[in-house]
């Protein structure tokens, strides 16, 4: 009797197809078996876990107060994982008193030390998990282990360390991140880095200044953006150096940060940045001018209202609407720009703030405006069209330097 292989051989060219059929059928069977086994395993695992979670929950207070000896659950990895997960989940939503109690438990039970050990000694996936858990504890003693994780070769591990340090939300963690950036440069995506620094630098934003000054271009942009968010009024003088920076992002960051600065200084700078050739720098400047709520910002906001970029126009409109005590004179000036898009942006902001009725009543009660003018303004407000339709052209407005976004 011939073997199966001999039979296959005799099939000639069709043998290939037969092999392919066999492979495909085996593939189907393996996939099905995998799905089946995985489902069964998971079902068993989760039912066992649920039962154990329930048991541990029944004795939770005794467990974290130490009445139940830590040794009873620490030696069993299954129990230890459950206890740690429950504690860290509770930590996320806990108030100060409960946080302190949980942190004390994590320390005295040795869970933090264990995670620090794992973060230092393990590699790859296990190290990453340890770093994530360590970050969630927010225990300051974990900072150095997390900082070591920043130098890992694997990006995901570095990100886990970075996010963990971000959760610490303290200047010590910021110093570690900045020192690492100074040494290695930008080796992680910008967003997690910015998020971590935002959390850590809120207390001492001055930490960022030397790094922004000295970093290379891409990192400078990233740090500048963070600086823009966390800057405080006391940093006004420090921020001035970035107003004329060659990097657009940094000028934009300076514009954003100047909204926190002392008004007099901020105004001059922002008025200058509101005329920047780059649209997002103008956008940041206009938003900051609106936040300053200083009437000296009105001319620049009016200029912003005639900007080529619609986002700048909209934000300028919102800024102008913020001057609730001077609605009539501002509206008059808005109409005076003869810019249809600008008028629309202002009316949009007015209506979004639900202030159109207020402007109408103020316009009616205003004695400083002559009857003819009042009628004209009321008409513009009602119809949303300029008295003489003069849609602004690109050439008629000096700062329409770029196409619409």
């Amino acid at each position: 009797m011939r073997s199966i292989f001999e039979n296959l051989w005799r099939l000639g060219p069709a043998a290939f197809v037969v092999k392919a059929i066999v492979a495909a059928i085996v593939g189907d069977a393996l996939l099905l078996a995998f799905i089946l086994l995985r489902r069964t395993y998971r079902k068993r695992y989760f039912s066992k876990r649920d039962a154990r979670v329930f048991e541990l929950r029944q004795h939770w207070d005794a467990l974290i107060s130490g009445q139940i000896s830590y040794e009873r659950w620490r030696k069993k990895p299954f129990d230890r994982r459950i206890v740690e997960t429950i504690a860290l989940d509770a930590f996320e939503a806990a108030g100060p008193a409960e946080s302190a109690r949980l942190l004390k438990f994590l320390r005295t039970s040795g869970l933090i030390e264990k995670r620090i050990f794992e973060a230092r000694k393990h590699t790859g996936w296990r190290r990453m998990r340890a770093l994530v858990a360590l970050g969630r504890t927010r225990a300051p003693e974990g900072i150095s282990a997390l900082a070591e994780g920043l130098c890992d070769a694997d990006l995901e591990t570095r990100l886990a360390a970075l996010r963990g340090l971000g959760r610490m939300a303290c200047p010590q963690a910021a110093e570690e991140i900045l020192a690492w950036l100074g040494e290695k440069g930008l080796t992680v995506p910008a967003l997690p880095l910015q998020s971590a620094l935002l959390q850590c630098c809120a207390e001492r934003p001055q930490l960022l200044i030397p790094y922004v000054q000295n970093a290379a271009a891409p990192l400078r942009e990233v740090l500048g953006r963070v600086l823009g968010e966390v800057a405080t009024p006391s940093m006004g003088m420090d921020l001035l150096q970035f107003v004329g920076d060659e990097l657009d992002e940094l000028r934009a960051a300076a514009a954003r940060a100047m909204s926190h600065s002392q008004t007099g200084l901020g105004l001059d700078v922002l008025n200058e940045l509101a005329r920047d050739p780059v649209w997002f720098v103008r956008l940041r400047a206009v938003v900051s001018l609106g936040r300053l709520s200083d009437r000296r910002a009105i001319p620049s906001l009016l200029l912003g209202l005639t900007d080529a970029n619609r986002l700048v126009r909209l934000r300028a409109g919102e800024g102008l609407v913020g001057f609730a005590t001077e609605m009539v004179p501002i509206f008059k000036q808005v109409v005076g720009t003869h810019d249809r898009y600008g008028l629309f942006a202002y009316l949009t902001a007015l209506e979004n703030a639900n202030l159109r009725g207020k402007l109408e009543s103020e316009l009616q009660g205003d004695t400083g405006v002559d009857v003819e003018e009042k009628k004209r303004l009321e008409n513009v407000l009602q119809t949303g069209t300029l008295p003489v339709e003069e849609p602004a052209t690109l050439a008629s407005v000096p700062h329409k330097v770029e196409a619409l976004p």
Binding site: V17, I35, R129, L159, Q194, E229, R313, F344
Partner: protein, 470 residues
């Protein structure tokens, strides 16, 4: 004749083998990508995005045409999405029912004069309304433009955010869908210009208070087969194409784009039959021609649940329309083929679309015809034919089960054993006669297009009613 039949059968065999091997490769790429994605999520907490001031504003644009029965639930769902800076624009595209009235009653709309810059072509706007209850909601009431693209353009003209998220008003987004879809953009805002999310089948599931409460497999076979198709198309196809930066379609039901770029290409093309494919292709063209360094991503976990046709007639019409859309875009962009300027889009993605998507029904139906002819002439090798049939069947089933596996090990939305068993069984059943029917519908689409029938006809949809709404 016999020589012709021989060549034809061999061509069919190799075509089929190549097509399945391509899918197998995509399955492997997708499995790997999903595993990496799942690991990354381990250290990623979405609430960080929710809390960060760095998250850019998004405008959701939801075109609605005769959606009176579901518009309230749908808009409530959109407004309840987790995202720090959100604007929702609902475009009432000349509805003849009470869609606008429903919105007025539910959200206390007032007429406003919001900025509307007609950059993209759209039918005239009758009015803009802002909600007094939730000022993030803007309703654009416009005359019927005859296409979804026209309605999206109206929303685009009113949008005020740097990113626009296009959704269907009768689809249901999961509450963290925006946070998830924005992850690639936030990680690389300079290069990532668009992201597509996954579309899943809503039919049969349960919606409570504007939220998807329970995911169930639909009852009808025709709907379950579409679940398998969607899993295969998104979890394998798009995931793999996205990895190679060759994603050609971002579903019209859920995708995020940079608003400035959408405006730069003139918005959606109102005359396009497959507006979602068209817009992504034009974005590729625009960016390749300007030499931009960009990426278009696909993210498999921000889920959008949508209704699929529940009868053969509607499904046939939908698939014919998709095929027309495919041909329309491929033909319009045929100059991109094999031009080095368009990189891998011109040299790989588009040729694949021509060969394995557009011409598939022609080749398959042609192949079946030649097999029948060969059999009638008595020159068909029955043994080989049966082997080929079995091989094709088993191989195609591997791909389908692979997509179910992908869903199982990653997102696992079907918790019920029964659902998974049914899903797997349809992986075996979809090949006869659904596949052949599908080919006929697609062939009909090509025929209709060649005859000049290029009008965009919206399909009748039950929308959120396809799920159990409470």
């Amino acid at each position: 004749m016999i020589r012709f039949l021989g060549i034809s059968n061999h061509t069919l065999f190799w075509y089929y083998l190549a097509s399945n091997l391509a899918y197998l490769t995509m399955l492997l790429v997708a499995l790997r990508t999903s595993a990496v994605h799942q690991r990354r999520l381990e250290s990623h907490r979405l609430n960080w995005i929710k809390e960060t001031p760095l998250a850019p504003p998004i405008t959701i644009i939801a075109p609605a045409h005769n959606e009176e029965s579901s518009i309230r639930v749908a808009v409530r769902n959109l407004l309840a999405l987790d995202y720090p800076q959100l604007e929702v624009i609902v475009v009432n595209d000349g509805s003849q029912d009470r869609t606008l009235e429903q919105l007025r009653e539910e959200f206390r709309l007032r007429l406003v004069r919001a900025v509307y810059v007609p950059v993209a072509t759209s039918a005239p706007v009758r009015g803009l309304y802002r909600s007094e209850i939730d000022p993030r909601l803007l309703v654009v009431d416009k005359e019927a433009g005859g296409s979804k693209a026209d309605a999206v353009n109206a929303g685009l003209n009113a949008a005020t955010s740097p990113y626009a998220c296009i959704v269907d008003a009768d689809s249901m987004l999961e509450s963290d869908a925006l946070l998830r879809i924005m992850v690639p953009i936030l990680e690389d805002p300079k290069r990532v210009i668009a992201v597509g999310g996954i579309i899943r089948v809503l039919n049969g599931s349960e919606i409570v208070g504007g939220h998807l409460r329970r995911v169930r497999l639909p009852r009808k076979s025709i709907e379950v087969i579409q679940v398998v198709e969607y899993l295969r198309a998104f979890l394998i196809g798009r995931e793999a194409w996205g990895q190679g930066n060759m994603l050609m379609i971002i579903s019209g039901a859920f995708g995020v784009f940079r608003t400035d770029l959408l405006r730069a290409i003139g918005g959606y093309k109102p005359s396009a039959i497959g507006e979602d494919f068209d817009v992504v292709t034009r974005l590729h063209r625009h960016l390749k021609e300007t030499g931009a360094d960009y990426r278009i991503h696909f993210v498999p976990d921000p889920m959008c649940w949508t209704e699929v046709p529940s009868d053969l007639q509607s499904l046939g019409r939908q698939r014919a329309r998709w095929q027309k859309g495919l041909l329309d875009v491929l033909w319009a962009n045929r100059d991109m083929l094999f031009r080095p300027r368009y990189g891998r889009i011109g040299s790989f993605a588009l040729p694949y679309m021509w060969l394995f998507e557009l011409l598939a029904p022609v080749i398959e139906i042609g192949g079946i015809a030649t097999i029948i002819l060969a059999a009638s002439l008595g020159v068909l090798s029955r043994g080989f034919f049966l082997q080929f049939l079995l091989f094709g069947y088993a191989f195609a089933t591997v791909i389908s089960i692979g997509s179910v596996l992908q869903e199982e090990i990653t997102y696992k939305r079907y918790n019920d054993w029964q659902d998974v068993a049914r899903l797997v069984s349809y992986c075996f059943l979809e090949h006869f006669p659904y596949r052949q029917l599908h080919m006929i519908w697609r062939l009909r689409g090509i025929w209709q297009y060649m005859r000049g029938d290029t009008v965009w006809v919206p399909s009748k949809r039950k929308g959120l009613e396809s799920a159990t709404v409470r």
